[in-house]
Symmetry: C2
């Protein structure tokens, strides 16, 4: 393929499929910050090249070729993230952007070598699962956003949204990291913010923040 734009489209489609395995053009346009018209254009090309199934005004689905390609892009991205974080020592709020560029510029051979160096990691620094060389995804633990916990409950962080550098930088300052325990001390109804306790310290965090932090669900 050898095309940054197309790789970004496939990756975005893959990461945002709904439970039926479909996605609408508008969502792609939003994620990539481009016009819907540009998306329509590209969808026709991706369809012609056999990566997606697309009929105008219908939802978009990946072909198995497209899915393989996209999954490999996600793999590249997340292996780079682990590498940058663990080996190079970059903070977790910087690795996403760097990996966004590196993922398009590395051979599969390089990615495989990095994976070996890292001893086959299963999750990236934000808790997202890393597809294996043969396309298998590791098991994902049951999880829900912090915002859905009740007063008095607590949860162990197992994933955070990786797409916003400022968000990650901010929650780091609160002491939030993977495996950290967070206690919901109070839910403020007025603005749906939360009073939480992390490592013995109390903080008030907004609803939006809480929606992007995911904790393990012990039982349903």
């Amino acid at each position: 393929m050898q095309n940054i734009s197309k790789e970004d489209y496939l990756s975005t489609i893959f990461r945002n499929l709904n439970p039926e395995g479909k996605i609408k053009p508008g969502l792609i346009a939003g994620k990539l910050s481009i016009s819907s018209a540009a998306v329509t254009d590209m969808l026709r090309k991706l369809s012609a090249e056999g990566y997606i199934i697309y009929e105008r005004y219908k939802g978009i689905a990946l072909t198995s070729e497209g899915e393989n390609y996209a999954r490999n892009m996600v793999r590249r991205h997340r292996i780079w993230e682990v590498f940058l974080n663990k080996v190079v020592g970059m903070p977790w709020d910087k690795v996403h952007e760097e990996a966004n560029r590196l993922e398009h510029s590395s051979s599969d051979d390089l990615i495989n070598r990095l994976e070996v160096m890292l001893d086959f990691p299963e999750y990236d620094p934000h808790g997202d699962p890393i597809p294996s060389r043969d396309g298998k995804m590791p098991k994902i633990k049951r999880q829900k956003p912090l915002s859905e916990l009740e007063e008095g409950e607590s949860g162990r962080v197992i994933r955070v949204n990786d797409s916003d550098e400022n968000f990650l930088g901010y929650i780091s300052k609160l002491g939030i990291m993977l495996k950290e325990n967070i206690v919901i001390k109070k839910k403020i109804m007025f603005d749906e913010s939360l009073e939480v306790s992390i490592k013995g310290k109390s903080w008030n965090i907004s609803s939006k923040l809480a929606q992007n932090i995911f904790v393990e669900v012990k039982r349903d």
Copy 2:
């Protein structure tokens, strides 16, 4: 800048300046495998942006801004090469191509971190010097191509041309690597090939091959 093409132009110009600090369009076109017309186009843009000094039908020179940009690209490329070779374990004949892509996709912060991990290397796996963070070049030893040695002379390899993967793969099989000693046993006048001895084994190598292997010059 944020532009792979322009970065490749600047890099190519920098690497191929003549002793007067100039280069002709045709050479750039050759190195980049594109038409001279395309080069003329781009030279106007690079000139408008202040990276080069260019008047039609005159030679091209880098401005100090262009030189800094280009030197930094070379730095990125060579640090990646060392990293891929030393840390990731890629063979020296594979690192150039991989670095050619990575050099456009990495932040200065990442490069600086890699440099620290590598303990500030001065030469890449092919013997080319690595510009430091503040733009200084390490000393280069006096050198000449193997093809210029006389019968009976010998030389220690300190640099090889890095641009051809097959060339590097081939000379590796002959046991040629940096710091290796090569003895010229015989110069064959008919085709200017050389009979050489490496690690006690004899080989016949072509003139073209010998022109791309550089040995240390002890005295002039």
